[in-house]
Symmetry: C2
């Protein structure tokens, strides 16, 4: 299949690579030229503009930082839509607001182009391994087409509802991850302060109802003070703001997500926005007057 | 071995049964006589007082609702200590405050009796199946003796530190479980309000970093409005107050645990204290002006 791919960042580059490996004709575009050249070496064809991607592709995949980037790449001057044929499909794997996804879907439908919001979870490791989980929102036929393409880079592709539903599930994902990190931070801090053998404690905690992927993966990093990203605090903050905004539009208060977002903001205020999101324990330590750099 | 067992409630009765099955001589006492008779049918010997248990046992296990119950049974008139021989061991599997456990350990040490705090996780199902996780605090030799006995009713027995450490890990366990339930409640509420296919969403959420035992076990019950306990809201509230008190004594603020404890209190205020702790989603629904009985 002729696939266009725009956004060769930490997630996009390995995803595009898997599509090449799966035998597709992949045309790639990225703001920085170096990333395009790396994909060319792997067998992709480089483009000089989003329009050129649209001209050559039946399916265009975008993996970009935020809604304005997607808007610009699709609808801006020299954008994909200046050349994309009717009947084509746009699949946006960025994490953006559900309302933006619905807006893109409507504007593309006016041009007879289908749209699927398809945010992913699994992080850089999942993108490299081709084991991402993809949550897709859109019309059934478009989602089926998107799933067939994304299978090359994912372990799971799930249709979760109409346009925007993929982003809502991603928002829920980011709420759960942040909340579980915050609770692990509180529990680990209590254990560290009270002379408990924390390694032994983590073993038994992971054996029962308290078990979580975050407890398994992030607690040992909190103990080792290893906050190399991984997934950066700044990005998680962006995603939590999306979740809070989505909740407000759904007319539902989510008080814990609110408090947690403020703790994440406190981390950024203190200059830790570039660390892994497991560094949330540092916000709790600062709050308690402990030096977060020598616990 | 000659084992005394006091407290034949939902957890204690099946635990005592496993000790009988393992070939121990088990002397049991409980406030209500009917529970004693059930254990006698299974091969235990009934006692008429805690003192009589102390007289016949080398190791006494207590599984009681709260610290005052343990205090009364051990040190009260007709209590275990009126008859227990020096060199014996008391193992308390109740969930109580870490400071109470340390207090019991000190008072028993004065009588040359060893003490291990050994709260359990795994719930009634784990007690019946003999697959509890036991977190033990105390001196090494006493913990070894306690572990040998409790092996008959547990999948995991872990030594986590000195006296009180078992209760601290149990407190951390209850914080994590409550926090994960609260986050699942917020995430599920958002998805329910926005037309997402929640079953499909749960599949993909459980495949990534958002995965947790609570998401796996409690989210489907929230969707089915199945709040039959399980573990009751009232008991979880008691345990969260223990955690908050332990954190205060450790001079650490745990803001999320604080907010969550208040949401759990709100559930009790509304008359839902007897439901399973997964019913926390009802507190969030009430907060948002939704009828929690017809979502």
């Amino acid at each position: 299949m002729n696939i266009g791919f725009i956004g060769l960042g930490v997630m996009g580059a390995p995803m595009a690579g898997h599509l090449v490996d799966a035998g597709h004709n992949v045309v790639v575009f990225n703001r920085s030229r170096a990333k395009i050249e790396q994909l060319e070496l792997r067998g992709a064809v480089g483009a000089t503009s989003p329009a050129q991607v649209g001209e050559k592709a039946d399916v265009v995949i975008t993996v970009l930082p935020d809604s304005p980037d997607v808007d610009e790449v699709l609808f801006g001057a020299g954008g994909v839509l200046t050349a994309l044929r009717p009947g084509s499909l746009v699949v946006d794997c960025s994490t953006i607001a559900p309302e933006s996804a619905r807006d893109f879907a409507a504007r593309l439908a006016d041009r007879d182009v289908a749209f699927v919001d398809a945010p992913v979870s699994g992080g850089e490791a999942g993108a490299v391994a081709g084991t991402l989980a993809v949550m897709m929102g859109g019309e059934k036929d478009a989602v089926r087409r998107a799933g067939e393409v994304l299978d090359a880079t994912a372990a799971t592709t799930v249709h979760v509802g109409p346009a925007g539903a993929g982003q809502l599930v991603k928002a829920a994902n980011q709420m759960l991850v942040a909340g579980n990190i915050a609770m692990v931070a509180e529990a680990v801090s209590l254990l560290l302060r009270t002379g408990v053998e924390v390694d032994a404690a983590l073993t038994v905690l992971n054996g029962g109802l308290a078990a979580s992927k975050v407890l398994e993966v992030k607690a040992p990093k909190m103990l080792a003070r290893d906050f190399v990203p991984g997934f950066r605090v700044d990005l998680h903050h962006k995603d939590l703001k999306i979740a809070l905004s989505a909740a407000e539009q759904a007319r539902i208060a989510v008080p814990l997500t609110g408090v947690i977002t403020q703790l994440v903001q406190a981390l950024r205020s203190a200059g830790d926005g570039g660390l892994d999101h497991g560094a949330l324990i540092k916000a709790l330590e600062r709050l308690n007057g402990m030096s977060p750099d020598s616990p």
